[in-house]
C-alpha cells in the first residue's frame, strides 16, 4: 500500500497545477496550428512540443540536468542557435534581385520603423497598471516588428531573457500570420491603379557582384556597427559559402542538415520557456499585442516608402513591394505577389519583392545591432 501511495504522489495526475494544464493547452494549440493549419510547422511544432514537455510535473526537463535545460543553456543563453540559423538563412538567400536594384534597400530600411515605434509603444504601455517594461524589455519586444525569428531570439536572449518565450512565440506566430495581417494594410494604403503597375525586368547580376556583396556588407558592419557583427557576420559567411561556389558541401550543410538540427533544438528550447510561471502573466498579453502593432506599422511604412519611391520614379515602382520590407523571407514576398496578381493577373511581382524582402533581413539585423549597442 505504501508503494502505491508513493507511486500516486509521483504521478502526473496528483501533481498538476492549473497553470501547467493551461500551458499544455497552449502547446497543443501550437501543435494544432502547425499540423492542421500548416503555420510555420518547422518551428511551431517543436516549440509546441517543448511547451508540453516543459510543463510536465516532476518531468524535470527544464531543471538543471534536464535535456531542455541544456538545450536552452547551450544554444540560446549563449546566442549560438539563432546565429547558426542565420548562417543557414544566409546560405539560402540569393541577393541577386537586390544587387540588380539596390534602391530596394530603402524599403528594407523603412519597414524597420515598426521596430522603433513599438519601442515607444512598449514604454507607453507602462502607463497601464500591471506593466513594468524596462527599456531593455521594450527593445526586445520591439524587434518582433522585424518579423525575423532568429534576430528576435538573439536580441531577447541578450536584452530580456525572461521574456524570451513570449517574444519567440509572438515573432513566429506573426510570421505565420503574414498572409492574414499584411493584405488588408497593403490594400488600404494603395490604389487599384498603383497595384497594377508593372515593373521592368531586373538586369542580370554577375558572379563577382554576388561574391563581393556579403564581403561589403560585413565590411560596413565592422566599420559602423560592430554590435551587429554576430548576426550579420554569420549571415554573410553563409552567403559567401553559397556564392563563392568553391565550398558547395559546406553551403549545402549550412542550408540543410545543420539548420535542421539547430531548428529542432531551438524550437524545443524556446518551448521550454513556455512554463506556466513565466508565460501566464499580463506581460505576455502586452507582448502579443505590441508584436502585432509592430508588424502592422512595419508593413505600413514599407508600403508608404514604396509609394514615395513610386512617385519619385515616375510610376515605375509598384508600392505593394514595400510590404516585403519586413523580413519574413520568403512569405512576405509571396504575399506581395499574390496581392499583385489579384489586381492584374499577368503581373508577377515575386522577383521584385525578393529585393526588399532580403533587404528587410539586413535592415532588421542592423536595427538589432543598434538596439544592442544602445541598450545592451
Amino acid at each position: 500500500m505504501e508503494g502505491l501511495i508513493a507511486f500516486w504522489s509521483e504521478s502526473g495526475i496528483a501533481n498538476f497545477t492549473p497553470g501547467q494544464l493551461l500551458m499544455m493547452g497552449v502547446g497543443a494549440l501550437l501543435l494544432y496550428l502547425s499540423i492542421v493549419r500548416g503555420f510555420e510547422p518547422l518551428l511551431l511544432l517543436p516549440i509546441g512540443f517543448g511547451a508540453i514537455l516543459a510543463n510536465i510535473p516532476n518531468g524535470g526537463f527544464t531543471e538543471e540536468g534536464g535535456l531542455l535545460y541544456f538545450a536552452y543553456h547551450v544554444g540560446i543563453e549563449t546566442g549560438v542557435f539563432p546565429l547558426l540559423i542565420f548562417m543557414g538563412v544566409g546560405a539560402m538567400t540569393d541577393f541577386g534581385a537586390l544587387i540588380a536594384n539596390p534602391k530596394m534597400l530603402l524599403l528594407g530600411a523603412a519597414a524597420q520603423f515598426g521596430i522603433f515605434s513599438t519601442l515607444i509603444g512598449a514604454i507607453a504601455l507602462n502607463f497601464v497598471p500591471g506593466f513594468e517594461f524596462s527599456m531593455q524589455d521594450a527593445g526586445a519586444i520591439a524587434i518582433i516588428g522585424g518579423a525575423d525569428g532568429p534576430t528576435a531570439i538573439f536580441l531577447a536572449s541578450k536584452l530580456a531573457p525572461d521574456l524570451l518565450g513570449a517574444i519567440a512565440v509572438a515573432a513566429y506566430s506573426y510570421m505565420a500570420l503574414v498572409p492574414l495581417i499584411q493584405p488588408p494594410i497593403m490594400k488600404l494604403l494603395t490604389t487599384e491603379s498603383e497595384r497594377q503597375i508593372k515593373m521592368e525586368q531586373l538586369r542580370e547580376v554577375s558572379k563577382k557582384e554576388k561574391i563581393i556583396f556579403p564581403l561589403m556588407v560585413l565590411g560596413l558592419t565592422i566599420l559602423f556597427l560592430p554590435a551587429a557583427t554576430p548576426l550579420v557576420g554569420m549571415f554573410c559567411l553563409g552567403n559567401l559559402m553559397r556564392e563563392s561556389g568553391v565550398v558547395d558541401r559546406l553551403s549545402n550543410t549550412a542550408q540543410n542538415e545543420l539548420i535542421n538540427i539547430v531548428t529542432i533544438f531551438l524550437g524545443l528550447a524556446v518551448g521550454s520557456k513556455l512554463s506556466a510561471d513565466k508565460f501566464l502573466q499580463l506581460e505576455t498579453l502586452g507582448i502579443l499585442l505590441l508584436g502585432a502593432v509592430a508588424f502592422a506599422i512595419g508593413t505600413a511604412t514599407g508600403v508608404l516608402m514604396a509609394k514615395l519611391m513610386c512617385k519619385l520614379s515616375g510610376g515605375k515602382i509598384n508600392p505593394l513591394i514595400g510590404a516585403a520590407g519586413v523580413s519574413a523571407v520568403p512569405m512576405a514576398a509571396r504575399v506581395v505577389n499574390k496581392v499583385g496578381l489579384e489586381s492584374n493577373q499577368h503581373n508577377f511581382l515575386l522577383m521584385h519583392a525578393m529585393g526588399p524582402n532580403v533587404a528587410g533581413v539586413l535592415g532588421s539585423a542592423v536595427a538589432a545591432g543598434v538596439l544592442i549597442a544602445v541598450l545592451g
Binding site: 544587387i99 534597400l105 530603402l106 524597420q112 522603433f116
Partner: protein
C-alpha cells in the same frame, strides 16, 4: 508617471537614432553596390543579344540534316493532302 514620460523621450531618441543609422547604413550599401555594379556588372544586353543572333544564324546555316528532315516531312504532308 514622470519617469515614464522621461523614458518615452529616451525611447524617442533611440527611435530617431536607430532609424537614422539604419537608413545611413543601407544608403551607404546602395552606393557600394552601385560602385561594384559599375565595375563588375555583366556586359549590356544589346551586345549580348547581337552575339546570340549571329550564333543562331550560323547554326541554321550548317545543319543540312535538319533541312532534309523538314523537306521530307513537307513532301509527305503534301502527298497525303
Amino acid at each position: 508617471m514622470n519617469s515614464i514620460s522621461e523614458q518615452i523621450i529616451e525611447a524617442l531618441g533611440i527611435m530617431l537614432l536607430g532609424m537614422g543609422l539604419v537608413f545611413v547604413f543601407l544608403t551607404v550599401l546602395i552606393l557600394g553596390v552601385k560602385l561594384v555594379a559599375y565595375k563588375f556588372a555583366p556586359q549590356p544586353i544589346g551586345h549580348k543579344a547581337l552575339a546570340e543572333n549571329s550564333d543562331t544564324a550560323s547554326a541554321q546555316g550548317v545543319d543540312p540534316l535538319m533541312v532534309a528532315v523538314i523537306t521530307s516531312a513537307i513532301h509527305q504532308y503534301r502527298a497525303k493532302a
